[in-house]
Each structure stands twice: as C-alpha cells, then as structure tokens.
C-alpha cells in the first residue's frame, strides 16, 4: 500500500511533512520494500489529507460481556473505525465484571474474532468494583490488561487505593481513576451551580472531583507510580494537575469532547443525553479545560463512549443512566473546537494527544508511523464540513447530544494492520 502526497504527522518519529507512506505486510515500510512486492500495490491519494498514526481512544465502554443490547465488541469496534480509531481501551464495568483473568481472556478472544480495530481490555482495581478488596491485579496483568480502573466507580478508601497503586507498580500497570468523592457528590446528577439551583436537580459539586484528584496526586507521590485521572471536568482539577505535573508527579489527565463542547446550560430541557458522569460543567470550567489542553496539563483526549439503549435513556432525568456515545463524533468535535474554533492547539498536538501520549501511558507499541510499526493509520480531512447524523452511526446505540451538529474535520479512512477497515 502506498498513501501518496498526504501530510504525514507523527511526533514519535518527529515527522511533519508532505510525503508518501509505504505499507508492506501490515507494517509501515521503506519505499524499497513496497517496490519489491509482487502483487498489485494499492495506491491511496491522500492529497489534502492528514496521514496520522492510528488514533487511540483510552476510554470506551463496549458493554460486552453482559449488556450487548447497548453495544457489542463488534459494533463498538466498527464505531471506533468510523471515528478514525485503530485502538480502543475498554473499561471493565461489564457483567461479569472484568475483575478476573477469565473475563479478560473472553474479551480478548471475542475481540480477536469480531473486532475490526485493536481492542485492549482494562481490569478493575477492586473486586466487583466494590472498592473494598483488591482485584487479582497481578493475574489481570498476566491476562493482558493495559491498565486497572474502577471506572464508573471510585475507590473511596484511600488505604485501599494506596495499596492498589503500590501493587500495580510491581506489575507495571498504570492506574486509571474516575475521580468522585461519594460523600460530597451524594445523589448529584448535574453540576452544582446555577442550573441545578434553578431546576431543582441534585447537584454534583466540582469539589467532589477535585478531592479525589488531590488524593491521587498524594498517592502518586507516596507510591511513586503513575495515576491517570479520567474525564476531568473542573477548573480546580486542572489547577491541581498543573501544579503537580510541574513538580514531576506521575499524574496525568484526560478530557472528553462533551465537557468542552457543552456546559450545564444544556440540561435545562431535561434531555437525558445531557446527563453524564462527571456532569457538564460551567463555562468557567470549560475555559479552564481549554487552557489545560493548550498548556499540556491535560495530555490525552478520549470519548468515554458510553452506549445506552433508547428505552433506558428515555426516562425521567433522575432515573436515566449516565453517559453518551462519542467514538463517531469526538475527532470532529475536537478538531472543530480545539483546532479550528478556539485555536488552542495545532493539528500536530491534537494528533499527539490521541497517539504518542496514550501509547506512552499504556506502554504499548502503537501511535507511531515509524518503520516497522504496525500499519495502523488514520487519514483525516481537516477541512471537511459534515453534519452529525446519529441514525448513520455504526454504534448499536444512539445516545448522543450532538445530533445535527455541523462540524469541520473528520477521519475519512481508517487502516488497521495495513487493511482499510473503514472509509467515508
């Protein structure tokens, strides 16, 4: 395969140039290797396109095993491919919970059989996500998880969390944390602020996230091991992270597109597609997230792709499950908002936040176009204007607040191991 005349951007191999990219035997190759191939060589015209390492989304829920009416590994992988992603990291809140090696083995087998992109599992921190006893983290590591997390839940007991981080360090697994102090958050469903006050909805205060970000900074220092804070949303979290990273603490944070595309104002019609955990925040928080992205405090972009069936979401606001799908809109939203509209980062930085940064966190061999790497490639048209149509999604679910949004920029072709798995 030859991808011709695109703008090849790869921070890992320090490339940003108009060039041809060669693929042979599922790997990024030298020009000479492709010439030597006997069969017909596929040529792709990438003029005007970005040729990026295959994008990585480190935060998705594929719902299998247990909730295949929301999403399957197969449909989720197709949604990933359609969004430009070649690798995704699945959260462990399945049923059974991914707190044991056999569930991990099942997910890996299933992914190998049906997924068109690379699906990497995580394991839990605690048994059954209960936050009390440690999951068999060493066995999970041997089974092939890339991180541990109780995502959707948060270990409240700091001592349990401390031992988990210490233990994970031994087996070299990063610890991801969904930062939520249960006492402060209580039954909160939306950001505590103007709109929760106006609408009488139970508030989820910013301090409920920040308390756990602070906890994680302290434990990362105490245990000298990496903790990655998932889907951060508040100005205070950005400030805490910025200060800690400046001191060299092994701490990082990720951002989801909905937390910069929307504010808590979106809840005023009680649309349950505006209900996610953590919740949509204030404009001041959005501004702080944008600054955190601009200065590198927040180093990773992801979707928190959380599929739910229509009948589950179409209920009273309090009763609706948290979460929205995001794989098929996130690149468009981030390109539109971060690169085009707010000009917070350039194209190369956006790609780095989806490639080298997550690859470094997970210590996986991905996110680069260097010679010999797996030929996972995403072709992006940064100028393409398009309209979100949820009925055309590959995902099995439709719970997106971005229906009919007009966005600029999207993936137009997704290549995994040298094979096109999706094309606009």
């Amino acid at each position: 395969m030859i991808i011709r005349n695109g703008r090849v951007i790869d921070r890992a191999s320090k490339r940003d140039e108009i060039a041809d990219l060669y693929v042979a035997d599922g790997r990024i190759a030298q020009k000479s290797e492709v010439r030597n191939q006997k069969s017909d060589v596929e040529e792709i015209d990438a003029k005007g396109l970005i040729v990026a390492p295959g994008l990585i989304d480190i935060h998705v829920h594929f719902r299998e095993p247990g909730f295949s009416h929301k999403e399957t590994i197969e449909s989720g992988a197709r949604a990933a491919a359609a969004g430009g992603f070649t690798t995704v990291v699945c959260m462990p809140n399945t049923s059974p919970t991914a707190d044991n090696p056999s569930t991990i083995a099942w997910i890996k087998d299933r992914a190998a059989a049906v997924a068109c992109v690379n699906v990497l599992p995580t394991g839990t921190i605690s048994r059954n996500l209960a936050g009390e006893e440690l999951a068999p983290i060493g066995s999970l590591a041997q089974a092939g998880v890339v991180a541990i997390t109780d995502d959707g839940h948060c270990v409240q007991n700091h001592e349990v969390m401390r031992r988990a981080v210490e233990y994970a360090r031994m087996v070299d697994l990063p610890v991801f944390d969904h930062c939520q102090d249960y006492n402060l958050v209580g039954n909160g469903v939306v950001h505590e602020g103007y709109w929760s006050t106006l609408l009488g909805l139970p508030g989820w205060p910013a301090a409920g996230e920040e308390a756990m970000v602070m906890r994680n900074i302290l434990l990362a220092e105490l245990c000298d091991h990496h903790i990655h804070c998932q889907h951060l949303t508040t100005a205070g979290s950005v400030r805490l992270l910025r200060e800690a990273r400046a001191r060299g603490v092994k701490i990082s944070g990720e951002v989801c597109p909905h937390h910069i595309a929307l504010t808590d104002e979106a809840i005023q019609d009680f649309d349950t597609n505006s209900k996610m955990n953590p919740p949509l925040r204030s404009q001041a928080d959005v501004n702080a997230l944008l600054e955190g992205i601009a200065d590198g405090t927040l180093s990773i972009l992801c979707s928190d792709h959380a599929p739910h069936a229509d009948f589950e979401k179409e209920v009273e606001f309090d009763a609706a499950p948290f979460g929205i799908i995001g794989l098929e809109t996130e690149l468009g939203l981030f390109l539109d908002l971060l690169v085009h509209k707010h000009r917070k980062i350039d194209m190369a930085q956006l790609i780095a936040m989806y490639t080298v940064e997550p690859a470094r966190l997970l210590k996986i061999n991905a996110g680069t176009l260097s010679i010999g790497a797996h030929a996972d490639v995403t072709l992006i048209d940064p100028e393409l204007e398009w309209t979100v149509r949820v009925d055309q999604f590959q995902s099995a679910s439709r719970n997106s607040p971005f229906q009919a949004w007009k966005l600029k920029g999207r993936a137009v072709r997704t290549i995994v191991d040298g094979k096109t798995v999706w094309k606009l």
Binding site: G193, Y194, T197, L201, E316, F317
Partner: protein
Amino acid sequence: MSTRWARKDLLGLRELSADEINFVLETTDAFKQVGTREIKKVPALRGKTLVNFFVEPSTRTRTSFELAAFRLSADVINISATTSSLTKGETLKDTARNLEALHADILVLRHSSAGAPQFLANRLKASVINAGDGAHEHPTQALLDLYTIRERRGEIAGLRVAIIGDILFSRVARSNIFGLLKLGAHVTLVGPSTLVPREFEKLGVEVSYKIDDVLPKADVVNLLRIQHERQRREYFPGLGEYIRLFGLTKERAKLLKPDCLIMHPGPINRGVEIDSDVADGVQSVILDQVTNGLAVRMAVLYLCGGISTQ
C-alpha cells in the same frame, strides 16, 4: 379561546410571561365566583377525561385537582404510584401512552423527578399539568399563592415577600420565585445556609440568614414546611435549633407589620416552622390559599384543556 393563552401544558412558571400569569389570575376570578353559587358546577370540561397521576404521594393537591375537575364536569380517574404499573417495571412513558390510548385529555402529574412533566408533555397530545416535580416547580401552588396575595393586597408589584425555610429542596419556593419576580415583587429567601445557598441570588432574589431583620420589612411571609422526615441530618443540627433560628414564633410574629400576610402551602408543622397561634391568627391566609387553590386549578384545567382538546 383567548389569544392570551396558547399552551396545552402548564409545566412551570419560569416559562410563563407576566401577561400569561395575570391571565390565569383573571380567569381564576371567574371560577372563584362559581364556588359561591348554589350549584357549583359548570360544563366547561364535560365529556373530557382527566387523569390524576400521582407517582409521589399527595393528599391536598390531588384532592384539589380532583374537585376542580368535578366542578368543570370532567370525568376523573386517580392513579397513584402503588396502583400504577410503574411498580411492575413499566416506564413512565409507556404508562402515559397507555393512558393516552384510553383518550385521556388532561394528565395531572405529581412526580419525584424534576422534569418528568416536561418529559411527558413533549411526548403526549394530552395536556400535562405539573402538580409538583421533584424540587423543580409546583406551578399551581405558586399561582394560588399569587392569587391570594393579589386578592388581599390588590397589586403584587412592589411588595416585599419573604420565603422562609427549606428553599433548596422546595418546588414551591422555585415556582414562587419565578412568579413573584415576573410580577414585580421583591423576594427575600430566609433559612439555614445549607438549605438557602447563595447561588439563589443569581435568580434575582435576596438571600438572608437573619430572619429578625427581614420580618419587619415584609409584606408577605411564606413559610415552607421543614421536611424533617426526609431531611438528611447534615443540613441542620435539629428542629430545636431550627425553631430558635428560623421558626415564626409568637415572639417573632410581633416583628411583622400588622398587615403582613402569613402564608403556608401546607401541611403545616405546628410548633416547628410556625407557632400554632400564629398559624390561626388574623394575619394568616393559609385557609384562603386552600380555597383559592381550587379556583386556580379550575382556571388552569379550563385554559390548558381548552387548547389540547380544540
């Protein structure tokens, strides 16, 4: 039907204009007069079906709506949470669609979740009347409060109204705030700082934690029920301290202007938010509120039912 009313639903006062609120109050005048006649029934909703759908328990609001519907000659069915299929796992949407399939014209909904009436209003052709949703709105209660104030004082604009008690969890407070501000009143919220967060100031009201400073200036005090049975312990230390800091005791009532109205949406906790003698005193209009509630609900059913069944 008047050009001043074009809504099939009444979901809250935040969405109403001052003119719409005034129109409901004017319409209420006519229905209040009906209540004084020998025959208290009018044929306005004859042949229409009204469903009182109370997913959260209520006696007085449900009874008031039921009586209002009877007086308008509607057929009424009452469904409560325990008798509905919701307990069998049916969704709110499906239950409501079933009621609509039985040709219900008006659905009066009381629900513990904020936004539930709007959820149904967006999906049903029938009128949806919010009879209280979570801590969000209770529009007919606020309308009857406004009506009672207007009846006693002639004009609402310029009055100083103090709403006292648990504001954070109160739908009555929110609907009153929206309605009073639209009609030009000055609103002060009073209560423990945990139940009256400063965030409310952004709605255009004043927040005070000193009841003794507020009472002498008030033209109306509206006391909210302290829901101690539901209150999580951390919001205030106990009823004794609440009474000491915020209760409308006999002693405190002396601070009020002689013509200040004392209101309460009920049910009252005698000796907690209000002293028993004060509740029964000459300044109290608590029972007028109940009487006016019937007329207000007749007006609301008549106006919304007239739109949805056109």
